[in-house]
């Protein structure tokens, strides 16, 4: 076990080919994710929108893996794909959304929304390019291990963590109180 850990903590820089393969994976994921997101906001079927969201969430989990954030990827799968998707599908079911195509899901003035989001992307893209141009991620990038995450949460970030626990509890009770039939 300790030999295994040692082997894993050795700093191994990626070869060029490996870096290209990882880059290729990223671009495939990015294209799939952006297309699914676009379909999600334009589809006329509520359940299909939920399924497209599922694709986007899986893609984001893949991007976390590429960035070496294992625990965030696992949490993404468990919390988003597991819990949040079920909640959203429950929402679709309980609000008796039309099964099948529903022509009345969007506002008529879509172009204002499109204009807003395109200009937002333009501003963000310009400032990102100005700030980071072609900065590279460190080539000897190490995966961030779950143990380090745990150490960080339970030492440096213990106060936000406890506040978050209280927030979750409050949200849980609040949701029950709001949705209760009385």
């Amino acid at each position: 076990m300790s030999a295994f850990l040692l082997a894993q903590t050795d700093v191994i820089a990626l070869t060029d080919t490996e870096a290209w393969v990882i880059n290729g994976f990223f671009y495939v994921l990015a294209v799939v994710g952006l297309l699914a997101a676009l379909k999600m906001v334009t589809t006329k079927n509520v359940v299909h929108a939920a399924l497209y969201l599922l694709i986007v969430l899986s893609v984001v989990a893949g991007v976390y893996i590429i960035l070496g954030a294992e625990f965030a990827a696992a949490t993404q799968v468990m919390v988003y794909i597991g819990a949040v998707m079920v909640l959203l599908l429950f929402g679709v079911m309980l609000t008796r959304a039309k099964i099948g195509d529903d022509g009345d899901l969007d506002y008529d003035q879509k172009w204002i929304g499109a204009l807003t989001s395109v200009s937002m992307f333009a501003v963000m893209g310009y400032s990102l390019w100005e700030a980071f141009e072609d900065d590279k991620l460190p080539s000897d990038m190490m995966p961030q291990r779950t143990g380090e995450v745990a150490n960080s949460i339970f030492s440096q970030y213990i106060v936000p963590f406890e506040a978050l626990s209280m927030l979750l509890l409050a949200a849980l009770i609040g949701a029950v109180v709001v949705a209760r039939r009385d």
Binding site: G33, M40, V63, A69, G91, W129, P138, V149
Partner: protein
């Protein structure tokens, strides 16, 4: 790998999410678009964490995921309440506060 390729991907997801929030009438679909926006922010946090080789980015992404779960719970409860009172989750019709 460039840092910017992750940031641009996140910016794209964010903009698409904003478009969804602005154009969708259905309350549940608006919540889904908000999830898209939160995910874009998380990608940024994790990407900067990897860029600076700092664990804090990932920790903050985890915090955002937890807050997003709480937000979905409360948001859906509110949408269900609106549906129960008005028989519709059309956001455009929930305008009681309009002057």
């Amino acid at each position: 790998m460039f840092l910017n390729q992750f940031l641009f991907f996140a910016a794209g997801l964010f903009s698409i999410g904003v478009y969804g929030v602005l154009t969708r009438k259905n309350g549940v679909l608006v919540l889904m678009s908000i999830e898209l926006i939160l995910n874009a922010v998380n990608i940024n946090l994790v990407a900067f964490g990897a860029f600076n080789q700092d664990i804090s980015g990932q920790v903050f992404a985890l915090f955002v995921i937890a807050v997003a779960a709480a937000e979905v719970g409360v948001g859906l409860a509110i949408v269900l309440l609106i549906f129960r009172n008005r028989r519709s989750i059309d956001i455009a019709e929930a305008d009681l506060l309009k002057g």
